[in-house]
């Protein structure tokens, strides 16, 4: 395997959790709900996936545990913001704080344990294509799911009736409600989808990226995923592109550290966060463009009138 392939492989591994968490949040935000708890749901998924894998010995059960845990945890957010119309920003923060606390407690017995890495699934024939084969067709299940989700979400949002309804709710929940669309029910499902994706992203961290449990191992990736949704102007294809761009930035600093170039490691580690800020500025400095792309009801509470 050449050096270029090796580096691209690490980029893919670093990008996958960002892509997953962002595509989930994209659907949530398209329905008009801003869930800032991605970091919390992600770290919960990571902890549960690791624990379930250790207990059962199967990383596939771990993946399932991560997904289910993320979805259930997001229900807490859904109940508060959708049923009790609590402030979405504050509730999302609460979800993150709670997730970091609970995951720390769940993961405590597993600190320092070596994990079970999710093995790649080799797709026959395709995997033998030079260069592309090892990159795209000798990957683990979670990578394949991430690509399928991008395509699936794109199809759902722009080519299905249910997706049209979801976007309608996100742009004007009042009108959608008047048309007889179930605003609250759809939003619950969208929030849970976002939670499941964040949980899966967490599972990727503790089963593929670094197969072990470290407290706070999500290290702000949930927040970067949130920025990624803005960067992608709420379009699935751009989430993929942006995710790989961010993945490349965050992995390039590791490679730079390994090469031992003369920049302090802390400055290199700060690169993904600084890049996020720069990208946010570039994407949002034009107020008109932002207004056109943002779901118009994003973050606004909805109480059905009677």
């Amino acid at each position: 395997m050449g050096i270029v392939e090796a580096i691209l492989l690490t980029v893919i591994t670093a990008a996958t959790p960002l892509v997953l968490a962002a595509i989930g949040e994209l659907v949530t935000e398209r329905s008009g709900v801003l869930n800032l708890g991605v970091e919390g749901m992600m770290i919960m998924g990571a902890a549960l996936a690791f624990a379930a894998t250790q207990v059962t010995g199967s990383p596939y059960i771990g993946i399932l545990a991560g997904i289910v845990c993320g979805a259930l945890f997001s229900l807490l957010f859904g109940f508060l913001t959708l049923t009790l119309v609590a402030n979405q920003v504050a509730t999302g923060l609460a979800l993150t704080i709670l997730g970091l606390g609970i995951s720390g407690q769940i993961g405590e017995p597993y600190v320092g344990m070596s994990g079970i890495k999710l093995q790649p699934i080799v797709i026959p024939v395709l995997a033998d294509i030079p260069f592309i084969g090892p990159l795209l067709f000798r990957q683990d299940l979670i990578f394949y799911i991430s690509i399928a989700l991008i395509i699936g979400v794109h199809w759902f949002l722009f080519h299905s009736r249910a997706g049209l309804k979801l976007r309608a709710i996100g742009d004007s929940h009042g009108s959608a409600h008047a048309l007889g669309i179930h605003v609250i029910r759809t939003r619950y499902l969208a929030v849970m989808f976002g939670g499941a994706c964040a949980g899966l992203a967490g599972a990727q961290l503790s089963l593929v990226y670094t197969p072990q449990w470290v407290e706070n191992m999500s290290a702000g990736r949930g927040w970067i995923a949130l920025a990624l949704v803005v960067f992608a102007s709420w379009r699935p294809g751009r989430v993929l592109a942006g995710g790989y761009l961010f993945g490349a930035v965050s992995i390039s600093q590791l490679h730079a550290q390994a090469l031992g170039i003369g920049i302090p490691s802390q400055f290199l580690s700060a690169l993904p966060y600084a890049a996020t800020i720069v990208v946010l500025i570039l994407i949002s400095h034009n107020r008109r463009v932002t207004l056109i792309n943002t779901p118009a009801s994003l973050g606004k509470p909805f109480v059905p009138d009677r």
Partner: protein, 362 residues
């Protein structure tokens, strides 16, 4: 079965007072369940978490030490959130203030002067405000989401501090530990009362809270904050500038977080080290909400959250449960506070059968 909300005619005074207490009660119950699940006796665990720290002088000082930064940051955030600006990077501004305020005692480490301490405090406030100026500028002039930018800056501040204390600022006689030189006595914030440990930081916190309460209640600025926060459009008609408000609220909360940072470093740690905060900047968000975004409420909330830190350390020692329970308690508390706040504006009704508004729309 479903839950329906019915809007009240106005905000309920009863529930706006009661809701934090209901939330606290629910947190205690949920905490008891958590302890039971960990295999501990819930009653004695809750007792050593919430009550025992209040019974000895050492813990009370400890609570005051931890409440000081929480209240200082919390009042700033309360005003900021009132104006509908979401600074969630107070942790970063705390660190920036600590670094900026430490420039004098670290670089001129043999300067002894009564001027030193006030200069440090002022520089700490400037450091925090400057760091908050970044998301403020980006929001006011580049239309960039302040939640994400202020949060990203937290990670950058943490890494910068880490580099400082391992690199240029590392103490030459610190045995290679990543710490700066100890501050000279003139750079250490004095104790509040002699023979205690709580320092002047606590006094700063109370003064800041009272001043901001007066500002919110009796000045035009306070009115401007409330109006712009509730309706930017209405504020514009009144001639208030939301852009200026972004600057004001972010710089204010940043300066207070910076003051909290340098006060913590000067009063409690006496040097810089890689980690100077157990997440005060984030916990202060809970403090602000639990205090109902009211500066006086923030004092009470800050003391309570400080108790969760001290209580968490206590149960860690006595029951050998992990100190993560503190984080869980804090998260639960914020959840319950936010859900109980619904009671202020809405009546909650549980409907068991029959058609409801959502069904009726079909």
């Amino acid at each position: 079965m479903r839950i329906e909300l019915e809007k009240r005619a106005g905000a309920s005074t009863l529930y706006s007072i009661l809701s934090p207490f209901i939330a606290l009660g629910l947190t205690v119950i949920a905490g008891g369940i958590m302890f039971a699940m960990l295999g501990k006796d819930p009653v004695s665990a809750l007792y050593s978490f919430f009550v025992e720290p209040l019974l000895d002088i050492w813990s009370l000082h400890e609570i005051a030490i931890k409440a000081a930064p929480l209240i200082l940051i919390g009042v700033g955030l309360a005003v900021c959130y009132r104006s509908n600006n979401w600074n969630i990077g107070a942790e970063g501004q705390f660190i920036a203030g600590a670094i900026m305020g430490s420039i004098l005692p670290v670089t001129f480490y043999d300067w002894h002067s009564p001027l030193l301490l006030p200069l440090m405090m002022i520089m700490g406030m400037i450091g925090g405000a400057l760091y908050a100026a970044v998301p403020a500028f980006l929001k006011a002039h580049m239309n960039t989401n302040e939640i994400l930018t202020s949060l990203m800056l937290v990670y950058i501040a943490q890494l910068f501090l880490d580099w400082l204390v391992r690199g240029p600022w590392r103490s030459p006689d610190g045995l290679n530990f990543p710490i700066t030189r100890d501050f000279v006595p003139e750079a250490v914030l004095p104790e509040l009362i002699s023979s205690g440990r709580a320092n002047l930081g606590f006094a700063f916190a109370i003064i800041a809270a009272v001043l901001l309460w007066l500002m919110m209640r009796y000045t035009l600025k306070g009115f401007e904050i409330t109006v712009l926060g509730q309706s930017e459009r209405a504020g514009r008609f009144a001639g208030f500038s939301s852009r200026r408000m972004i600057w004001f609220s972010m710089l204010l909360s940043g300066a207070l977080a910076g003051l909290a940072g340098i006060a913590e470093v000067s009063g409690a740690i006496n040097k810089l080290q890689p980690i100077i905060s157990p997440g005060y900047g984030f916990t202060a968000i809970i403090v602000a909400f639990l205090g109902r975004l009211n500066p006086l409420g923030v004092i009470v909330a800050g003391l309570l959250l400080a108790l969760t830190y001290v209580g968490g350390e206590a149960v860690q020692l006595t029951l050998s449960v992990s100190d993560k329970v503190t984080r869980v308690f804090q998260g639960l508390l914020l959840f319950f506070v936010l859900s109980c706040d619904t009671l202020i504006l809405y009546k909650i009704r549980i409907v068991f059968a029959g058609r409801t508004a959502e069904d009726g729309a079909n």
